[in-house]
């Protein structure tokens, strides 16, 4: 044993390793458990500086026998008085200014103490992930490292008696700085501690061997300080040394304070407070609702004061208001951008409405509140007036980067200094954000990205800061990037690390021509398990111009009269191996995103459009599902195998249709295709008989002028029989695969489900249908629903049925990915397709779910063992959550892109079109125009001369008014067919282009 002295509470185990105990209290749900963990301290943690001569002697290899690489530059940047220096960041800097840390133009050679990393992880997991990525980048540009100060015997500090944990952690950070400063003294490298915590800065005295700076002070010393300073987050009162920012007038508008943690936990446990996600109404940004398991309908939250700073999507704690304050869902449409337009960003005045309307609410006791909850449930069963609640706490913010533009009327055009301006966000459910910038004038008419930093109770609007300028409003680049950002789509090019995972041969990669070839087998021992299907007459059928061909098909009559049908799917998992950077990137993107003029790939082009794509005339690896089907398209047998195929032809839907219809074609390929068509019709009929739904969405397609890439015309999507041919076999393959992987992995199989819609979703639609057309939609089963939809026919109007289908679609639940352990078998059901189990298997190039399904199927047929990643429920849960989110975002992004281009088309041709009224409000109507697939609100002001004379009939969904101009009396009902003037206008306040509809 060593004779070295060991500090109290530590026990030396061997040279350079001591152990101590960490004691803390875990209070969860009101409990209080004492927890003790061992904590080992060591002396072999290197400083990671290339300048250091000592640390290379203490290196220890990791589990993969790799030695750590040194990252910090031996010659770091020299800055004025700071000299050559490394930066140590404090937690508040990371949480506040992650964007700045990621900025390629500042912050190099940064040390992140472990305690900071831990604190960041506890406060915000996404920021933690970004920080970790930055530290793991390894590309010698930013040079960030994590220093495990908590495990280093020289930098670990014990908490002093009575010391708060924050103070202890701050001391640990300072100790780390001190150690580094000492350690690198001879190399002439200074240490700068960057913290916005004034007390932490003041704890460092002249005696100390390192320097501290606030973010602002540090930015001041940078060569590009003007540019950087603009990007500094706008955090209220965080930097009291900066007098300019600190002089916030505190007499501003105040929101109610949030409840304490103890109060929230107690309230949740006893059932007087509830937790849920806020959904802000699409039509009224001052009205939100929270879906709570205890209530059959969402609980309303009305007004700025009651929403209490909640953003759309935040996870909040709500408390019911007294019954006298319950409200009906408003029948008023209200946009944030047109509300309080004249608010001055410098002086937040009192809002006129809702001031302290709940002054008395907090006096009622929890016992009374519990009774209130019972009344609330009863009231929901009755009509109209809804239990109304207010937000008393926010447990998780949904804040991300937002795209918007500066509200021109908030800018002082004369000023060239820093000023407060409002940014109006593209998402109209969100409030405007107040930012400080010096470049307000320059940024007018630009799409800009901002981040939200804080929303103190004393500010009417949240505070944020400018992040990036996307370009001029209405330019294609800016708008496309904006919509990708808005929908959280990762569109940056693939990183070098990801591209390194691709085959080195690139486009020259070849499928081995002989799969028995010993040399090829040596390279890929799994080759022996592949089936050679190059003799099958396989072809692919896709939309015209398709380059990423996921699937191909073949059919052959068997001697016994049955059909052999094969579906061959691109073998993506041959190239994308679990645990690689490529896999991680695919998993995080989750799906490819299709915009009108652009595709954002999930996997690099090389795979998607070449090596994996089942192109004709070349050998490709595939994953094949081969059935034996009888004449009625019943499955006699199914087999799964990895294979090598050669597609004979790549057809477009139309070409395939032509070939099938051409009775002169009698070759085997065509015969196979005819058989496929024939079988697919039977499959479809069986599906419909089982109750599969045929829903509709107002989807349109924008034709691009191929030369100018200007949008030409808009067309409603058409379907051919061959579309349905491919679709049916893909469904069949997905179902067969789902059964197989569920059988092999009952707990973690990657599946997709679609829940039956709750009847409440259809209440309003059914009421409207009943009132206006005397029709109903039955919800007994999907079959009943499908049949009742078929019956919703207006003999005078062929489009009416489609309209009902569109509106029904909006009442349905969204399908979701899940792992089989998450639900019980009966809940696996896919309601829309009317099957008991389903997954996605057929498009691994563009969906990550399919990649997982491929791997699980490969393991199920003993091709290769399944990665632990896909056998672990928690990891599968994370994968599912992510791809569900990405899938939804991709859909929204696609729609937004179409909407933008439709707007561009309409801009050039104003016209009068047929529209349908789909919603009637107190102060306007919503009209859907099928031709453009757009819908828009027509405000009462634009309908009637005298707004106050208009009458709204809630029961009949009727708005009566005297029409503008003509003076004629009009009654508008829901479902009415109307002629509307459609034009595209640029909103002067928000600079957003949208369809403006006017009743003709």
């Amino acid at each position: 044993m060593s004779t070295q002295t060991v500090l109290a509470g530590r026990k030396r185990l061997s040279e350079g390793l001591t152990v101590t105990q960490k004691v803390f209290v875990r209070s969860r749900n009101g409990g209080a458990t004492k927890i003790v963990r061992e904590h080992y301290l060591r002396n072999d943690i290197p400083c990671f500086s290339k300048a250091c001569t000592e640390c290379s002697k203490i290196l220890v290899p990791d589990a993969n026998d790799k030695l750590p690489t040194f990252v910090l530059s031996e010659n770091p940047a020299k800055l004025g008085k700071l000299g050559k220096h490394y930066v140590v960041v404090d937690t508040n800097i990371v949480l506040l200014a992650m964007d700045l840390l990621e900025n390629p133009n500042c912050f190099f050679d940064v040390i992140v103490p472990q305690i900071v990393l831990d604190e960041v992880r506890n406060r915000s997991y996404p920021v933690y992930t970004r920080l970790r990525n930055l530290c793991g980048a390894n590309d010698d540009t930013k040079r960030f490292i994590v220093f495990h100060n908590e495990f280093h015997e020289m930098t670990y500090v014990n908490r002093k008696p009575e010391e708060s944990i924050n103070d202890r952690n701050d001391r640990a950070i300072r100790k780390t700085c001190e150690w580094y400063a000492n350690h690198l003294k001879d190399q002439g490298i200074n240490i700068v501690l960057l913290t916005n915590d004034r007390l932490n800065r003041e704890s460092v005295t002249k005696k100390d061997n390192f320097i501290t700076k606030s973010l602002y002070q540090y930015a001041d010393t940078l060569p590009n300080s003007d540019e950087i300073k603009d990007l500094i987050p706008n955090y209220d009162l965080t930097d009291t040394t900066n007098n300019e920012i600190a002089k916030e007038d505190l007499a501003e508008f105040t929101y109610p304070e949030y409840y304490s943690q103890a109060r929230i936990l107690g309230g949740l446990k006893s059932g007087v407070l509830y937790q849920g996600n806020v959904q802000i109404s699409e039509y009224n940004f001052l009205e939100g609702s929270v879906t709570l398991p205890r209530f059959s309908k969402p609980v309303l939250i009305v007004g700025q004061e009651n929403l209490n700073r909640a953003f759309n999507g935040d996870q909040v704690i709500v408390e019911l208001l007294p019954q006298s304050e319950w409200k009906a869902p408003s029948s008023i449409a209200l946009d944030s951008e047109h509300f309080d337009v004249n608010d001055n960003p410098d002086i937040d005045e009192e809002s006129e409405e809702n001031v302290n309307q709940n002054g008395g609410a907090s006096i009622i006791s929890d016992k009374q509140r519990r009774l209130l909850a019972k009344d609330a449930i009863l009231a929901q069963k009755a009509k109209k007036v809804q239990p109304t609640a207010r937000v008393v706490g926010i447990t998780r913010r949904s804040w991300r980067l937002y795209v918007g533009q500066i509200a021109p009327n908030s800018v002082d055009l004369q000023s060239n200094g820093t000023q407060n301006v409002f940014v109006i966000l593209m998402d109209k459910c969100l409030p405007k954000i107040r930012i400080r910038t010096r470049r307000a004038n320059e940024l007018l008419d630009k799409r800009i990205v901002i981040a939200v930093d804080d929303w103190p109770a004393t500010h009417k609007y949240p505070l944020g800061h400018f992040v990036r300028d996307l370009g001029g409003i209405e330019t294609v680049e800016a708008e496309t990037e904006a919509l990708l950002l808005e929908h959280d789509v990762e569109y940056r090019p693939f990183s070098r690390k990801v591209l390194e995972c691709l085959p080195a041969e690139g486009h020259d990669w070849k499928t081995p021509s002989n799969i028995k070839d010993p040399e090829a087998l040596a390279n890929d021992p799994l080759l022996a398990k592949r089936t050679d299907l190059r003799d099958k007459l396989i072809c692919s059928i896709d939309p015209p111009g398709c380059v990423d061909i996921d699937d191909a098909l073949h059919a052959k009559r068997l001697p016994n009269g049955n059909w052999e049908v094969g579906v061959h799917i691109a073998d993506v998992t041959h190239f994308v191996k679990p645990g690689t950077a490529l896999d991680a990137e695919g998993a995080s993107r989750g799906t490819s995103v299709y915009l009108v003029d652009k595709r954002i790939d999930m996997l690099p082009m090389l795979l998607g459009t070449d090596l994996c794509s089942l192109k004709p005339y070349v050998d490709r690896f595939a994953f094949s599902v081969i059935w034996e089907l009888n004449e009625d398209a019943d499955i006699v047998n199914v087999d799964f195998t990895k294979s090598v195929i050669r597609s004979r032809e790549a057809f477009s839907y139309e070409q395939a249709q032509v070939r099938i219809d051409d009775s002169n074609q009698k070759d085997e390929l065509t015969l196979g295709m005819r058989a496929l068509l024939h079988l697919s019709k039977k499959l479809k009929q069986k599906r419909l008989d089982a109750g599969a739904l045929n829903l509709a969405s107002p989807e349109v397609k924008v034709h691009m002028d191929s030369e100018t890439s200007d949008p030409g015309e808009v067309e409603i999507k058409k379907l051919l029989a061959t579309n349905s041919l491919v679709e049916e076999f893909m469904l069949l393959a997905n179902i067969s695969v789902a059964r197989k992987i569920y059988d092999a992995f009952p707990q973690t199989a990657m599946l997709r489900r679609h829940a039956a819609p709750p009847s409440t979703n259809f209440e309003l639609l059914n009421e409207m249908l009943h009132q206006r057309k005397n029709m109903t939609i039955s919800l007994e089963s999907s079959k009943a629903l499908a049949d009742s939809l078929d019956r919703c026919i207006d003999p005078q109007d062929a489009y009416f049925n489609t309209l009902v289908r569109i509106m029904s679609t909006r009442c349905m639940m969204a399908a979701q990915y899940f792992y089989s352990g998450a639900y019980s078998y009966p809940d696996f059901k896919h309601y829309g397709l009317a099957v008991d189990i389903y997954t996605h298997f057929t498009s691994p190039i563009r969906r990550y779910c399919d990649v997982v399904a491929h791997r699980q199927l490969a393991a199920a047929i003993d091709y290769e063992p399944l990665s632990l990643m896909h056998r672990d429920k928690n990891k599968m849960d994370m994968v599912c959550r992510n791809i569900n989110k990405k899938h939804r975002n991709a859909q929204f992004a696609g729609r937004a892109s179409i909407e933008y281009y439709v707007g561009q088309v309409m801009r050039n041709n104003e016209s009068v079109e047929t529209g349908y009224v789909i919603k009637v409000f107190n102060n306007g109507i919503v009209v859907l125009v099928p031709k453009f697939g757009v819908e828009g609100l027509i405000r009462l002001e634009n309908l009637a001369d005298d707004v106050n004379a208009a009458q709204f009939d809630e029961v009949e969904f009727k708005l009566s008014f005297t029409a503008k101009g003509s003076g004629e009396k009009k009654n508008i009902h829901v479902f009415d067919k109307v002629e509307v003037e459609v034009k595209s206008v640029l909103d002067p306040v928000t600079s957003k282009r949208k369809a403006e509809l006017l009743l003709k």
């Binding site: 026990k11 105990q21 458990t33 927890i35 061992e38 943690i45 220890v60 994590v146 063992p865 990891k875």
Partner: protein, 246 residues
């Protein structure tokens, strides 16, 4: 749980150890001379275990009498306060406890020279005062030490350790946090050999990774064997010193 850095990119575990490092291993023998024929107290990490060996002695029940060899009984008393949260129910007749007892009997039956003590019983009584992961491995170490203290003839040391597999990284001598986060295997290794007298795998470990897991486990068990050996020699030296004083 999954949000913790079980194994950081810098190669450190939650408690600051590297992948191939044992926890603190503190053992002493002959701790309960009054109560038993052989005893040991073991602290492996935050596991704290008393092991008492009583015997070889005459069986109290005739049914336990075996003409050819000694009967080995192991009772494991996992106290209700051994984890952070006090458990509501006693662990005495839990299935898991019975399973552990059986596997311990199997492990030591082959290693103790029971044939030397026919018509007797050897009772091993274990009290787990505190546990923090890798329990079965620690129980094995405690028994080995107590049996040596009791002077029961045995072929070799048996040393136990648990190894977890985090993604692809095997982690030696896991604590309870790690145990909950990954699948793991417990090994009982005979002396300095690569022979296993116990292998418990309670979750899935891919076959292609098992070899790695076993390799690091065996290396760790060998180190534990040396630590036990040290303690025994230290203790013996002390005894010799004491007796020569008299």
């Amino acid at each position: 749980m999954s949000r913790l850095e079980i194994y950081s990119p810098e190669g450190l575990r939650l408690d600051g150890r590297r992948w191939n490092e044992l926890r603190k291993f503190d053992a002493s023998i002959n701790t309960h001379a009054h109560l038993s024929d052989g005893s040991s107290y073991l602290e492996q990490g935050n596991n704290k275990i008393f092991t008492l060996v009583k015997g070889p002695r005459e069986p109290s029940q005739r049914s336990q009498l075996d003409q050819s060899k000694a009967t080995l009984n192991v009772t494991v008393n996992i106290t209700r306060f051994s984890k952070f949260e006090r458990s509501k129910a006693s662990h005495k007749n839990e299935r898991r406890t019975l399973e552990i007892q059986t596997s311990l009997v199997r492990t030591f039956e082959k290693n103790l020279m029971l044939q030397n003590y026919p018509r007797t019983v050897i009772d091993i009584e274990i009290h787990v005062l505190q546990q923090d992961g890798g329990l079965v491995g620690s129980l094995i170490n405690g028994i080995t030490l107590a049996c040596i203290d009791a002077g029961i003839a045995m072929y070799d040391y048996i040393s136990g350790v648990s190894v977890g597999l985090y993604d692809t990284v095997p982690l030696l001598d896991i604590n309870s946090l790690e145990e909950n986060a990954m699948s793991c295997a417990t090994l009982g290794v005979v002396g300095k050999t690569e022979k296993l007298s116990l292998l418990l795998v309670e979750d899935k470990i891919p076959l292609d990774r098992l070899e790695n897991v076993l390799a690091i486990g065996i290396a760790g068990a060998h180190r534990i064997r040396d630590l036990m050996d040290q303690e025994l020699r230290r203790h013996a030296q002390k005894r010799i010193a004491n007796s020569s004083k008299k």
